[in-house]
Symmetry: C2
Subunit: 244 residues, 2 copies
């Protein structure tokens, strides 16, 4: 299937291309003037304006306006996307569990574009919490002298804790890791895990930085903090690439 693009396409073309895009591995983009209605987990309406509508073969659906990273309206993968009217062109995206509906009513379709998507690549991401976990597990001395890490994702009654280990006195230690500035909710999470343990355990929140309130909360509950930067293997390359 070739990619195609058309300006001011007939409604029938839009309908046909949407069908094609579903049968094959293609996205359909529509640059339109439209109203949008959503109902489901909440309900929303959006008055007429110019937007970009993008449908994907997995049933994902997004409506982008002229600002912001996030779409104004969307449907997660698995939705059923259809042209339900051609005068005016009206697109619906529905799913169940939960029942949700988006209806896009287009007073004009400026461009339509069908885009076969040949893409086998997977995103390779570094610097996640999992990477931080590996780093701290392999380099327990960044926590403190004599710390030994013994287990990742150790199961407890309250769920798996990031890292479990023992300090130089043989006392058990529980680490909760965060890849960014820690806040009150992160202290709560650490506290929750400790609450569910029968025994006395040191709790340490590990993050690159801490908000004032999180530090107060840690202090109040007899918990500790350690500043550890997330490790991103790409850092070096970054500086050579950017120079900005």
């Amino acid at each position: 299937m070739e990619s195609r693009v058309e300006t001011n396409p007939d409604p029938e073309v839009v309908e046909e291309w949407l069908l094609e895009s579903k049968q094959r591995k293609a996205c359909l983009s529509l640059y339109v003037r439209c109203e949008v209605m959503y109902d489901g987990r909440a309900s929303a309406s959006l008055a007429a304006g110019d937007r970009l509508v993008l449908t994907k073969p997995d049933g994902s659906f997004v409506v982008h306006a002229d600002s912001g990273c996030d779409p104004q309206n969307w449907m997660p993968p698995g939705a059923s996307i259809n042209i339900v009217d051609t005068d005016p062109v009206t697109i619906s995206a529905t799913r169940s569990d939960p029942n949700e509906l988006i209806r896009v009513t287009c007073e004009e379709v400026y461009h339509a574009s069908i885009m076969p998507m040949d893409d086998d690549a997977e995103l390779n991401l570094e610097g996640t919490e999992a990477d931080l976990q590996d780093y701290v597990f392999e380099n327990p001395e960044v926590i403190e002298d004599g710390f030994r890490s013994t287990e990742k994702e150790k199961e407890t009654a309250a769920g798996p804790v990031d890292i479990w280990g023992y300090d130089s006195n043989g006392e058990p230690v529980l680490l909760e890791l965060k890849r960014r500035t820690a806040g009150p909710d992160d202290v709560d999470q650490l506290r929750r895990y400790l609450d569910h343990l029968e025994i006395e355990v040191r709790g340490i929140l590990v993050a690159p930085s801490f908000s004032d309130r999180s530090l107060e909360m840690l202090d109040k509950h007899g918990l500790e903090s350690r500043e550890v930067e997330p490790q991103a293997a790409g850092r070096d390359e970054y500086h050579s690439l950017s120079d900005f």
Copy 2:
């Protein structure tokens, strides 16, 4: 400015259109085969594949692949987007605070489309937590007989609590509201607010449903739960529109 679209555009056209889109209130969409590199808060790489690149006049930048609601790579509003090379066409999006860089290297540009975005509409969303807050505040009896709500967003040492009131015995009550199923983190949040109060206060978590673990935690800490459905004004319209 007219909208325009071109297949297999020259690099110079892409460069010119990107400039135009920034000067005026237009988005630029590029259907390309590209590699993507990101470095900043983390680092990521994405091997060659077909994708849709969308730039917005506020500096937002997204790269959509053929699946999923979320972009594979993105930059929030405020980024500087530029063509840094024309052979091959290479797009960069950078920002500072934090320093971040995306570089999109296009081995092919299938379509380019410049899309003036005339859009003054604001999204009207109903069924949010704020709506639930109003509803419970105005209808305190949904919590229990004799409950009086006296304050929304009442300031405390731990931050503002959703609703403050008094029960039929004149005892103070603190409500934490959630518009969806409550989990462990929501119990923690309620508990955090109570911890910072000097006096004894009843704590009630209000949500449409509760996970088992959240109920255990509430029980363990002497807290309460109330099932309240979020109110969406659009519900009625929804059923008449969808019938699915």
